[in-house]
């Protein structure tokens, strides 16, 4: 489900990830809510997957709405490369 070069944004609460999904879908951005990869989240977390071509719009919309993910990663082969800083949100 996550291709090489895809981005994965992990949120720290179910409500935030659902809100983020609604926001991005309303903007008709091509994203998918997926189970957070085990390597990135031990709990039953959720993540939003998006591709490079919509990255500016996705990250811009989340920032504008104050819905920054807790962590973001980029799939690189068999590993996930962390991008950006931690964004702990209440």
């Amino acid at each position: 489900m996550i291709k090489d070069g895809d981005y994965v944004a992990i949120f720290n609460s179910i409500h935030r990830v659902m809100e983020a999904e609604r926001l991005l879908k309303d903007k008709q951005l091509k994203i998918l809510l997926i189970p957070a990869p085990r390597a990135l989240a031990a709990d039953c977390g959720l993540a939003i997957r998006y591709a490079e071509d919509v990255r500016p719009e996705v990250e811009g919309a989340l920032a504008e709405a104050g819905l920054l993910p807790r962590d973001s990663y980029r799939k690189n082969g068999d590993t996930f490369e962390k991008i950006g800083e931690d964004n702990e949100q209440p």
């Binding site: 489900m1 179910i14 659902m18 998918l32 809510l33 997926i34 189970p35 085990r38 959720l46």
Partner: protein, 195 residues
């Protein structure tokens, strides 16, 4: 040697047909298939189950000669699915669990995508009632259902249900089935997982 021609079939049908043939094949199976995704998916599926695949390039496609991994490693070869070996999943709703609709839909989507990470998969997934919406255009699990199909899971939706929801022409993953097949598969299954 048994022969099978899956050229011209769309994914995941080649994998499904090969899986069925391997379940009933005696000895070698020779499969004619198209290059590209069918070739890769069938090869991955067969090798993943311990079969050896010999490949031959033809003018109009590819030929695989698939040989069994041996009786001990291939219980699926000697136990035809309909004779008691199959694990069947029946999904009768597009939501998982009772509670808020939005959460239920999210959990169902999550469940289906998570199946892709499982080493043991059901042999068949039947979608009935509003479950068929998961296999129709507009569903967010089409990619996951195609992935399951490529790993040999038969994804089948109830025809009556597709008709009821006016989705008959909009089926986007798997095939259409009827109640006879659903009932027979459930009654003959080794185990049935119902959601």
């Amino acid at each position: 040697m048994s022969n099978l021609d899956v050229r011209g079939m769309a994914c995941p049908l080649p994998v499904v047909q090969v899986k069925r043939a391997l379940e009933s094949a005696q000895g070698e199976l020779r499969v004619l298939l198209d290059d590209g995704a069918p070739r890769e998916n069938v090869k991955r599926f067969a090798q993943g189950r311990g079969y050896q695949v010999q490949e031959e390039r033809l003018e109009d496609g590819i030929a695989f000669t698939i040989t069994g991994p041996g009786a001990a490693a291939a219980p699926r070869q000697v136990v035809p699915a309909e004779a008691g070996g199959a694990t069947v999943m029946l999904i009768g709703t597009d939501r998982l669990g009772d509670g808020p609709e939005e959460l239920g839909r999210l959990l169902m989507k999550n469940f289906i995508i998570t199946l892709l990470d499982m080493s043991e998969l059901p042999d068949r997934i039947f979608f009935v009632n509003s479950g068929v919406l998961l296999a129709a255009q507009g569903s967010e699990v089409i990619e996951a259902l195609e992935g399951l199909g490529n790993r040999g899971v038969e994804v089948l939706s109830c025809g009556i249900c597709l008709d009821f929801f006016k989705k008959k022409e909009l089926l986007a993953a798997g095939g259409v089935t009827n109640m006879f097949t659903i009932a027979e598969s459930m009654l003959n299954a080794r185990s049935v997982v119902r959601l």
